[in-house]
């Protein structure tokens, strides 16, 4: 249904194909970028405009049980931010946890065409896929939470590594996930079973548990690398948010050796200082390790001042934050698999810790030597909404603006980081890397994040403006799979996007071990647990080494 199209006269930023602002024709046919099209093709004149591939969000929380709990929890956060319908598009509501339709359309209005939901308990996978079908335009996938899975812990503890490999692959297949996610590995059991306690050290073992977080992390990194998933384990390290946690982060990265690993929202894991006291920045130490280890990718999890919603599988962390916010709080335990904490939150310029978090995120961007391995994210909605991405881009591209903003924040915090000394300004090409080309490469999505022949025709066309916040928040055209979704800032049609997932090989025999465990400890039947194909609507399988 998508027409052929020729986009002319625009400045193209396509770093994967080494195109840095040259005026170049982009041709589209059947939803793909092609060499040339016939003369009948629709022509878009992009004179004075910047052309990039559609944006790719590698880490956000936009669908599923925890997001929906957050929506139900906070009507006040959406009441002032309605998302009206058009003849083509559905209505919704926004805030930091927008409804599904609003989330899809709003990503599109920023020129983003792919977004990955970063934390889904296996038992919540079906729910996520249902929400995905109601999340329009963007392509999406999700990471399945396996780092606190009791069955898998037992296998690691008993050194049944072959079965562990099989069971991980089984779970990924059963849930239609894109990769595995670890969140505060080893932290759920003390939370649920030991009066809301937590692990605090990557090598911590207790009297009745001989399994340390490091052993869990190592097992997952090994199996995923062995099976060659397109995206490595997506790791939320232990000790998120605690002063002194950069040691844990460094140790987590060291555990990977030279195997691939992705460290999520690394800003929240780059703090020095003593536990329980104010943190200081250790961005330089973290950036140095990442710079020197090409096996590591990360996303920043930038904090942006204003409203946010904390939603995390790291339940103990949410409880700590509840102590600060003193407001309403949700805890939601998932049997044998996961925990979850949710609360409304706001980052404020005058608060030392919040300013330091903001500054550390910026430091990490500015100290990074390889933009391909550091991805722009706010850990939406934890650090702030994805709707703040244009402002974040301006902070990175415009030193003068950054200095103005620095005047408004807690000055004491600025003394404990290197932000005031950093003069770097990101180029448009570097922005194209950290918002598209880089995340697409880290995800192993070969048809995303670039405009070479064969790529998906996901294209964003911005008016070139001095004010980069304005520029990146108002693309003139957004084209998804060759269809013009937005033209002259108006929605022209609607579409569903597809689901990306992987199907690593496994031996069915693993079900003989899984079934009795399910019968004993789960509350739904084993045969009703895996998600069947009907929930995939439009989908694409990305190949693993073993699929």
């Amino acid at each position: 249904m998508s027409a052929s199209m020729r986009i002319v006269n625009g400045q193209v930023y396509d770093p994967k194909n080494n195109i840095d602002g040259e005026v170049k024709e982009i041709c589209v046919e059947d939803g793909k970028i092609v060499d040339s099209v016939s003369d009948e093709a629709t022509i878009i004149d992009a004179k004075g405009m910047v052309i990039m591939a559609g944006g790719v969000d590698i880490h956000c929380h936009i669908a599923g049980p925890k997001v929906n709990l957050a929506r139900k929890l906070t009507p006040e956060a959406r009441r002032h931010d309605p998302h009206p319908s058009t003849p083509f598009t559905r209505s919704g509501s926004g805030g930091t946890t927008p409804s599904t339709f609003a989330a899809g359309y709003r990503y599109a209005t920023l020129g983003y065409t792919t977004a990955m939901e970063a934390a889904v308990s296996p038992i919540g996978a079906r729910h996520v896929l249902e929400e995905f079908e109601d999340t329009p335009i963007i392509d999406k996938g999700f990471y399945v939470l396996l780092g606190n899975n009791i069955f898998l812990h037992n296998l690691i503890r008993e050194k049944r590594i072959e079965e562990f490999d099989q069971a991980v692959a089984w779970w990924v297949n059963a849930t239609k996930a894109y990769t595995v996610k670890l969140v505060n590995p080893g932290g759920d059991e003390p939370w649920k079973g030991k009066r809301n306690s937590n692990v605090s050290n990557i090598d911590e073992k207790s009297d009745d548990d001989t399994l340390s977080p490091r052993q869990i992390i190592e097992a997952f990194i090994k199996t995923v690398n062995k099976q060659g998933y397109p995206h490595p384990p997506h790791i939320h390290c232990n000790n998120l948010g605690h002063s002194g946690n950069y040691i844990t982060t460094l140790e987590t990265m060291k555990t990977a050796g030279d195997l691939r690993a992705h460290i999520a929202h690394i800003q929240f894991h780059s703090y020095g200082g003593e536990v329980g006291k104010n943190p200081i920045s250790k961005a330089a130490e973290i950036a140095e390790y990442v710079n020197n280890h090409p096996n590591i990718t990360c996303d920043v999890g930038q904090v942006m001042f204003g409203d946010s919603t904390i939603m995390t599988a790291d339940a103990p962390l949410a409880y700590v934050l509840k102590g600060h916010s003193k407001g309403k709080w949700v805890n939601a335990d998932t049997e044998c698999e996961s925990g979850c904490g949710i609360l409304p939150f706001a980052y404020q310029e005058h608060i030392y810790v919040h300013t330091l978090q903001w500054a550390i995120g910026l430091e990490l961007f500015l100290l990074s030597e390889d933009p391909w391995r550091i991805v722009l994210s706010t850990d939406h909605p934890n650090g702030g909404s994805f709707m703040a991405y244009p402002k974040l881009i301006k902070l990175l591209m415009d030193e003068k603006f950054r200095r103005e903003e620095m005047k408004r924040v807690n000055q004491k915090a600025l003394l404990n980081c290197s932000l005031p000394e950093l003069k770097r300004e990101y180029t448009l090409s570097e922005i194209a890397i950290i918002t598209r080309a880089g995340p697409a490469r880290a995800l192993g999505l070969e048809t995303k994040g670039h405009l070479g022949v064969g790529a998906d025709a996901d294209i964003t066309i911005y008016d070139l403006m001095d004010d980069k916040e304005l520029m990146f928040s108002t693309p003139r055209y957004v084209i998804k799979s060759g269809n013009t979704m937005i033209a002259n800032h108006e929605f022209k049609t609607d579409s569903k996007g597809k689901v990306y997932h992987i199907t690593p090989d496994y031996d069915n025999k693993i079900e003989e071990s899984l079934k009795p465990f399910f019968e004993d400890y789960y509350s739904i039947e084993f045969s009703n647990y895996p998600v069947d194909d009907r929930y995939l609507h439009q989908h694409e399988i990305i190949k693993t080494k073993t699929s």
Binding site: M5, T42, I43, I44, D45, A63, P65, V67, N68, L69, R71, K72, L73, P75, R78, R79, P82, P84, S85, P87, F88, R90, S91, G92, S93, T97, S99, A102, I123, G124, R126, H127, E130, D134, I150, K192, G193, R195, N196, Y319, K328, V330, N331, A332, D333, E335, C336, I342, T484, A487, N488, E490, K492, D520, Y522, S523, I524, E525, S527, N528
Partner: protein, 466 residues
Amino acid sequence: MIEKTNKKVVEENKNIKIVHDATCTFCGCVCDDMELHVDVDEKRIIKSKNACVLGRAWFAEHTIENAPAAMIDGKEVTIEEAIEEAAQTLVNAKFPITYGLSDTTSEAQRQAVAITDYIKGNIDTTTSVCHGPSGLAFQGVGESTSTLGEVKNRADLVIYWGGNPAESHPRHFGRYAVTPKGMFTPNGKKDRTVVLVDVRKTKSAGVADILITPKPGKDFEVLWALRALVKGVKLSSDIEKETGVPLEILTDLAKRMKECRFGVLFFGMGLTMTRGRHFNSGALLALATDLNEYTHFVAKPVRGHGNVTGADNVVAWQTGYPFGVNFSRGYPRFNPGEFTTVDTLSNGDADAALIVASDPGSNFPKKAIEHLKNIPVITLDTKTTDTTKLSHVAFKTSTYGINTSGTVYRMDDVSITLRPAFESPFPDDEKILKSIKKRVHELILKNSHSGGASGEAKVAAAVNPL
């Protein structure tokens, strides 16, 4: 003699199909371990192994009835005619309302919200007349909660408040919360203390180790006293006069709550629909939250209908709000008390109604039913009800979980895919609603572009001039 033998052979040769791990959608327990024996020729379930008494009746009663699939004003019409009439009615209304949704699949619920969005109507579910106050309390204080499997594996203190699961959710005790053996509760009931708080001694009292009977309408006061005791506040023994519960009993319960390893508070409509309503639910949720300072504690409303939890979820993910949502301004607004169905009907606001899988005609306040009788009503139901009888357009649909697959959400938000037992000649809710949606959208696009370019032409026009 010969005849008798023959008869026996015929019975043995009956075309019986067995469906394993089917799901019972009668109540919010959504037990998914049914073994259904289906007489394929007669199209009925002759045995439902593992089902409780309510489930057995549910499966036995849903047979195929000989009735028209669609009616307008009581006269049989084709489904197509009924869809056209339903769509025209909804599009032409100024304040159309959609209601019900708790006994159908989430796939159908999604279509119903879409229709309401397109017609700029009002959507509400049976939540507004059952656990709606819990939803409001949730917005106020949050909730510490868990899936039911976690209760089975870990809970050593189980409290039921304002509910009678022995009769309303008969398998709740055996499957999830009282007797099952779990990971850290290897001895089942022996590893748990069970407390029942209710104004009267119900059939559920049988499982309780401790039975507490407050004065009717005093739940809030009892919960607030417990919150105080948990925090170490000293109370006067006058509390007994106020609540009907002696201070020693309350002190003992507060102690047990703080000392347990994993506690759970289940609560029912005895709490949410009596004096205090969302204050009651809020007090209970706040008590569970408070207890997390000392131990791990969760709370959970015991939801009624098979997929009322799905209705909350679908309405929430599509609009941002769980129930009582109005689209008249072209975007969702949430205002229980104004946009909840008892109110839109009693106040005389609604001028057309789409009722899906629910029977407000039999259980709503008189004033609301009177108004329902005066406006065009469109119903989708598996059975003839008081509401279908007063309908302008009535669709007879197949039964979810028996004739059609789809998704339901258990009371703890765990979703399950249904395994149907036998086919029905009637279409399912999703199919009818999808057709209405398609027609409604066509009519609206036609209206919005009347005299101008069609939608598609406009898209092309927007791209071409450049």
